[in-house]
């Protein structure tokens, strides 16, 4: 039991920090531009694929830097020539646009790299068990993932709170008009933030590709969960995204680890097995099966009880 709990916490932490890398960019973009970027997870996927291709040419470490830079540039281009165009039609139009971008990116990935999953491997230098606990090994690569995501977290936090650029970004979040009056090029700030957000998603893709798999559906798998994180944490709130990432990360890993069915639980409480056949399906549902539903239930609950999200200050 201790083993399950400990490893679930560790895995939850790794997954949660990964979610944070995606959601931090998404929530920053949302906070500034009011755009919920549907294609955010697609840039995560592009990061993984770029890194897969680059890693086979120049090795994993250069790819870890190069892939996010390329994806960041691509993101900036999408903002400059696509998003800015539809900006004046309102937020729903922007959402529709990013939805289209997500479709096209997924299809292009299938076109260029093919449908089957790619064997994007953990680099050899990190392919060893870091430590053993209760007879189970904890891979060094997961520790590396954790390290990278914590480093990114510290990096974003430092930039936003300690530098002049961060000051401008924070000001543009709430008072874009005033910042423009002071002579800053707000559209350019938007473009840069969009690019950086996409680059962050790509970093997540580079390091998650070997663990979660590199396949054309990987954006869809994580995309919706990231939206949940951002909405639950409070749209535009970085600290909210951090807490919600860890919450949903651990929630999902714990639920997956528990192989208990509804029937088991009710049996333990003293309720007899399902009498009618109609309820049979419900009875044999395990907690692990419910795991994919949990984030969405949480989302619906949060929106009903606290529409601003956990740490958010405004509704949209």
């Amino acid at each position: 039991m201790e083993q399950i709990v400990l490893f679930s916490i560790l895995n939850g932490l790794v997954f949660g920090m990964l979610l944070f890398m995606l959601s931090s960019g998404l929530t920053l973009i949302f906070g500034m531009m009011g755009v919920l970027n549907f294609a955010h997870a697609s840039f995560y996927m592009l990061g993984a694929y770029f890194a897969y291709t680059l890693a086979s040419r120049v090795g994993f470490w250069p790819a870890l830097v190069l892939a996010p830079v390329l994806v960041g540039l691509l993101g900036a281009l999408v903002e400059r020539h696509g998003l800015r165009r539809v900006h004046r039609f309102g937020h729903v139009a922007e959402l529709i646009f990013t939805f289209g971008v997500a479709i096209v990116i997924e299809e292009l990935v299938q076109l260029v790299w093919g449908r089957p999953a790619k064997s994007y491997q953990v680099p050899a230098a990190l392919d060893f068990p870091l430590f053993h606990l209760f007879g189970s090994a904890f891979p060094a690569y997961k520790a590396f993932m954790l390290l990278v995501s914590v480093a990114i977290f510290v990096f974003i936090f430092a930039i936003l709170t300690r530098t002049r650029a961060g000051l401008i970004i924070q000001a543009s979040l709430t008072h874009p008009g005033m910042v423009a009056m002071l002579g800053h090029n707000v559209p350019r700030v938007f473009m840069i933030v969009f690019g950086i957000g996409c680059a962050l998603a790509a970093v997540a893709g580079v390091i998650a590709g070997p663990v979660l798999g590199t396949f054309p559906g990987m954006a869809q798998v994580l995309g919706s969960v990231v939206f949940v994180v951002v909405v639950v944490g409070g749209l535009g709130s970085l600290s909210g995204a951090f807490v919600a990432s860890l919450l949903i990360g651990t929630l999902q890993t714990f639920a997956v680890a528990l192989n208990v069915s509804v029937g088991n639980v009710l049996m333990a409480v003293g309720v007899p097995a399902a009498a009618s056949a109609a309820l049979h399906d419900v009875w044999k549902v395990t907690v692990a099966q419910v795991a994919p539903i949990l984030p969405y239930l949480l989302l619906v609950l949060v929106l009903m009880i606290r529409p601003t999200g956990l740490f958010g200050t405004r509704e949209t």
Partner: protein
């Protein structure tokens, strides 16, 4: 409206009913539609025509119901297929019960079962989805879609797991001796329901609550001051949209006799967004046009290429970026010039721009197809037929030719595009002058 304002005003998304300009006034349109629907299977006689028209009919109802949310209510749903699918599953189960004799249900009434199912679930999920508009609404609809996708894996008995639920319309009791064993019979049943649903949805958009949906879309605050609860107005629209989506789902169950969880998945919800938007969300005919064109392209393209969804995605993106009013919106824009009999003047510039666009499209399609043939590795000979010629994938020349065509077409468009726009403005200006 001044002529100079026309293009800018037209670029606004969700412009107040472009199509209202008398086009749908009176019963003439509906009678014409009925006549067209009746004679269509006798005019179009190719083998696959009737099944494709059935598919179009289902898509039309679905897209129209989707536009009740997006176009008329300003609510972008990423999970509209949930109500389509649930209605369809309920209809399929009802048909199975009818086949076993447990339930008296003639086949022609089946879509109604689907509709009521869709309505019931929309009434349930609508309670929390419609509390807010905008991005939050979209997110909740996405969450509901994900919830249902995950639930479909759990509730095997209702959703039938991987294989889905199959049914058989031949076993149900007959109404007035009508049996639905041949394609054409099914076509007329679907056509009947499509017309009925379209009339009902159009009528809904003319009721006070339908008009209030527009008001809430454009300015919820003012709508509240008029005395309407914005939440309640959205809820009613949402339920109505769920009802008609359920009818489409019932038609689907009736036509294909099988439903799988995929029919209510995220992709199905995405497809309806694509077709509605390409058709144009600003007018009532937009979704109809979009459903017809999209279904046609889908069934045609998928015969020729493996990357048809990429083309449709690009078409969608191009629509969002350059003509957010959609095909119907563009057609409606030309109504004044048409009435002033000045459309003829546009033919020249439009033709030039169209040829440039075609050249660019050929170039891009050629490049994409060659890439696809290389990656998919299903062409061991290294030769693929493209545009009626054999193209060798391993030589440089075809790549250069297609890149050249794409570039030339794009440059031509840059030159011809503004000219076509100027001709359009000119035709309108002259019309307003005299």
């Amino acid at each position: 409206m001044k002529a100079a304002d026309a293009p800018t005003a037209a670029r606004r998304l969700a412009v107040a009913d472009v199509g209202r300009a008398g086009v749908l006034r009176g019963y003439g349109v509906w009678l014409t539609a009925a006549v067209v629907l009746i004679v269509l299977p006798w005019v179009v006689r190719t083998g696959a025509a009737v099944p494709i028209m059935n598919q179009m009919g289902i898509a039309i109802v679905f897209a129209l119901s989707f536009n009740m949310l997006l176009g008329q209510g300003g609510m972008l749903s990423f999970g509209h297929a949930v109500y389509f699918g649930l209605g369809g599953f309920l209809a399929a189960h009802a048909l199975n019960l009818a086949g076993r004799g447990t339930l008296y249900l003639p086949v022609p009434l089946l879509p109604l079962v689907g509709g009521l199912g869709g309505l019931a679930f929309a009434a349930l999920f609508g309670t929390f989805s419609t509390s807010r508009a905008g991005t939050v609404f979209s997110m909740v609809s996405l969450a509901v879609a994900e919830l249902m996708a995950a639930s479909s894996l759990i509730f095997d008995r209702f959703f039938g797991g991987e294989e889905g639920i199959t049914t058989n319309r031949a076993k149900a009791p007959l109404l007035l001796g009508l049996e639905f064993t041949r394609d054409r019979q099914v076509y007329y049943l679907i056509a009947f329901w499509v017309l009925l649903a379209a009339i009902a949805m159009y009528a809904f958009s003319r009721t006070p609550i339908g008009r209030m949906a527009n008001a809430v879309r454009d300015n919820p605050e003012r709508a509240e001051f008029v005395g309407y609860s914005q939440r309640w107005v959205r809820y009613i629209s949402f339920c109505a949209a769920g009802f008609f989506a359920g009818i489409a789902g019932g038609l689907f169950a009736l036509n294909y006799e099988i439903l799988t969880a995929e029919n209510m998945g995220l992709n199905a919800s995405g497809v309806v967004l694509l077709m509605t938007f390409i058709g144009g969300i600003g007018s009532f005919v937009g979704p109809i046009l979009g459903a017809i064109v999209f279904t046609f392209l889908q069934s045609m393209l998928s015969d020729y290429t493996g990357i048809w969804l990429l083309y449709l995605g690009i078409l969608f993106l191009a629509t969002v970026l350059f003509v957010p009013i959609g095909m119907a919106g563009v057609l409606m824009l030309h109504a004044p010039a048409w009435r002033a009999r000045r459309v003829g003047r546009l033919a020249g510039p439009y033709l030039v721009a169209g040829v440039c666009g075609l050249v660019a499209a050929v170039g891009v399609i050629g490049l994409l197809e060659m890439l696809h043939a290389l990656v998919a590795a299903d062409t061991p000979s290294g030769v693929r037929r493209l545009f009626w010629t054999a193209v060798s994938l391993r030589s440089v020349l075809p790549w250069l030719v297609f890149t050249g065509l794409a570039a030339a077409g794009a440059l031509g468009l840059r030159w011809a595009g503004p000219r076509a726009a100027a001709a359009f403005a000119d035709a309108n200006r002259a019309g307003a002058g005299r």
